[in-house]
């Protein structure tokens, strides 16, 4: 179970931090993937990007949560 984290006295769900971290990670991968032409190989680039983000988000939570 994910716990809430105290931030300056306010309780913030830790899912939010996971979300922000996966956005950062996603942006890095996205930047790297574009020049290599990865998105030209797939049928529906936005769908791939969404799937990539979901994988990152879910993976980050599943593998790192205490």
């Amino acid at each position: 179970m994910l716990r809430e984290i105290g931030l300056f006295g306010a309780l913030v769900p830790s899912l939010l931090f996971y979300f922000l971290a996966s956005i950062a990670l996603f942006l890095v991968i996205d930047r790297l993937a574009s020049p290599f032409g990865l998105y030209r190989l797939v049928w529906h680039p936005p769908l791939v990007r969404l799937a990539l983000f979901v994988c990152l988000f879910a993976g980050l939570v599943l593998f790192t949560h205490p």
């Binding site: 306010a10 529906h44 936005p46 769908l47 990007r49 969404l50």
Partner: protein, 586 residues
């Protein structure tokens, strides 16, 4: 249709997620979906980022207001009204991602601030809950609009450019052949305006278009330059034909040569370089300077078109652009939003109406969205009535049918048609219908009070509906009374923009260049055109005069090599005369 399906899907997914995570008031997620739903998609990440920033700023401002004036409701509502007005002004005046942030900023302040002020102890909790729900709505809408059939604005833009190119070639041939080109000219000018508008939206959608923004701008300006030069040439030719036969003969030869070259260029057998050589040879046959100007404009256009088609990244010489967003117009919009909140909250305080808070929130929300839509008085009355009538189906769905269902699937089955109908209306091209769909969606989302454990409260629903009708009615009345958007107002606005632009062009130390002047004027012209009826003779005359103003200003800029010289002063005078003529026509 696709837009409606996308909006419905976004709404249902947002509700499902909100139910799954047991959020406090899922209806705000649905309401947010209606607020942020837009037909264009693309660059969803950047747009949502700015929207979420706006939400956070709004929530922070709401908490600040609560901390400052929670005990004094008059002060609190006054500050709130001013803030909503400010955000509405900003969303109208800003012309980029900031506009998205402003919309959400005003909206969040209203829906966080009022409940938080009524329950000060839980203010922070309320703020985080609303921010979560709004962000959920934003993210779901962005994801769905980005993944499902992203609309291809850039394809539309490429088609528009290709059409314009063909028409321009036809137009040039008509001018050279001394045939009637008025129809084609009007078509070209509206096409240039269309390209400019598509470009302004597509920049946010397509990275490639954004990189090649400069090439497209140059294309559009070169296009208008050719049209302008052709007009001047036509007038001069008319004059020449009356004065002397000998000069006219030289011109005719030059024109015949040019016609052959342009014909080959139109067919695509020769490129811009060959066109330049051909036109140079043709221009040598006549000393008429207007003809040379016209050919020069045409060559520039051909190069700009080649630059666009060849996908060559343009030289870094960045074109500075200006936007014609009229400060006065945006200011009135802000004033209307402020007044709407003030009137509704005054009524709330005076009448001690328990649902006044809902009305105040909805007034703020409705005016925030109305900023993007203009309309007339009779429509507003009809819309308020129909809006009131929409309560009945909403009542039946929420209070009669929903208590019978069990589980999210059944719930979705009942709610989907209602959301879909609203979204379908919103997808319409007609502003009035859009407005109707949007308001019905707002009504449905706010009276539904969809929760995990639904609390059915018919009296509450009717009260909320009354609040919504009251809020919408107030917004409409203000829209019709306070500085209404009439054709006369549009003409005055155009005159104001044109006057300012021409004054800057003619100033001793001009601060604006060709590109800025032309974007300003083209946008102003487009706004003017939206209010004119093409079938009316005098409206067409007004537009014609407006286009003449654009040409006059362009001539001033081109000639102002040495500011303050006699030629520039003369041209500035001529431009002023054009302005006077436009004023007379309007």
């Amino acid at each position: 249709m696709i837009f409606a399906a996308k909006t419905t899907a976004s709404g249902l997914i947002a509700l499902l997620v909100a139910f799954t995570f047991n959020l406090d008031q899922p209806q705000w997620a649905l309401l947010t979906v209606f607020i942020v739903a837009q037909r264009q998609s693309g660059l969803v990440l950047a747009k949502s980022f700015y929207r979420i920033i706006g939400t956070l700023i709004g929530a922070a401002a709401a908490l600040l207001f609560v901390a400052l004036f929670a005990q004094e409701r008059v002060l609190f509502l006054g500050a709130l009204a001013l803030w909503v007005g400010l955000c509405t002004f900003g969303s109208q005046f800003a012309r980029n991602f900031a506009a998205y942030a402003f919309v959400l900023c005003g909206y969040t302040v209203a829906i966080v601030g009022i409940p938080a002020a009524l329950d000060v102890g839980n203010a922070f909790y309320i703020a985080t809950a609303r921010v979560t729900e709004i962000s959920l709505g934003i993210i779901v809408t962005a994801t769905v609009s980005g993944v499902v059939r992203p609309s291809a604005l850039s394809a539309e833009l490429r088609q528009a450019v290709a059409d314009a190119h063909l028409w321009l070639a036809d137009f040039v041939l008509a001018v050279i052949g001394e045939r009637d080109a008025v129809m084609l000219r009007t078509k070209l000018i509206s096409q240039a305006i269309l390209i400019e508008n598509l470009r302004a939206s597509a920049v946010f959608e397509d990275r490639e278009i954004r990189d090649r923004n400069g090439a497209l701008r140059q294309f559009d300006i070169a296009l208008l330059d050719v049209v302008g030069a052709a007009q001047v040439l036509g007038e001069r030719l008319e004059l020449l034909r009356q004065v002397t036969e000998r000069v006219a003969a030289g011109v005719s030869e030059a024109l015949a040569d040019a016609a052959a070259t342009v014909g080959a260029w139109r067919a695509g057998t020769i490129g811009a370089d060959a066109l330049r050589a051909g036109l140079l040879a043709a221009a040598g046959r006549s000393s008429l300077s207007r003809l040379q100007d016209f050919f020069a404009a045409l060559v520039l256009y051909a190069e700009a078109h080649e630059g666009w088609v060849s996908r060559r990244v343009p030289a870094p010489g960045h074109v500075r652009l200006a936007h014609a967003n009229d400060g006065v117009l945006a200011l009135w919009t802000g004033v209307r939003a402020t007044l709407a909140v003030v009137i509704v909250s005054t009524f709330w305080i005076l009448a001690d109406w328990p649902h006044g808070s809902t009305a105040a929130i909805l007034a703020a929300v409705a005016t925030a969205r109305l900023t993007t839509m203009g309309h007339a008085v009779p429509v507003s009355i009809a819309a308020t009535l129909i809006f009131g009538l929409a309560t009945l189906p909403a009542f039946i769905i929420v209070e009669v049918v929903l208590p019978l269902v069990w589980g999210f699937e059944m719930f979705a089955l009942i709610v989907t048609p209602a959301i879909f109908c609203c979204a379908l209306l919103m997808a319409s091209k007609k502003v009035e219908v859009q407005l109707l769909g949007f308001l019905s969606g707002l009504l449905f989302a706010s009276v539904g009070l969809f929760q995990n454990r639904m609390v059915y409260d018919p009296i509450g629903l009717l009260n909320t509906a009354m609040a919504a009708v009251f809020a919408a009615g107030t917004a409409f009345v203000l829209w019709s009374i306070v500085a209404p958007d009439t054709p006369e107002a549009a003409r005055r606005r155009f005159l104001r923009v044109a006057h300012r632009a021409l004054a800057e062009v003619g100033a001793a130390h001009p601060r604006i260049g060709m590109a800025e002047f032309e974007t300003t004027m083209i946008e102003a012209l487009e706004q003017l055109r939206a209010h004119l009826r093409p079938d009316r003779q005098e409206d067409a005359a007004v537009l014609e005069k407006g286009i003449a103003l654009l040409g006059a200003g362009r001539e001033v800029i081109r000639q102002r090599g040495e500011p303050g010289s006699a030629a520039v002063n003369g041209l500035a005078l001529a431009a002023d005369r054009q302005l006077g003529r436009f004023r007379d026509a309007a």
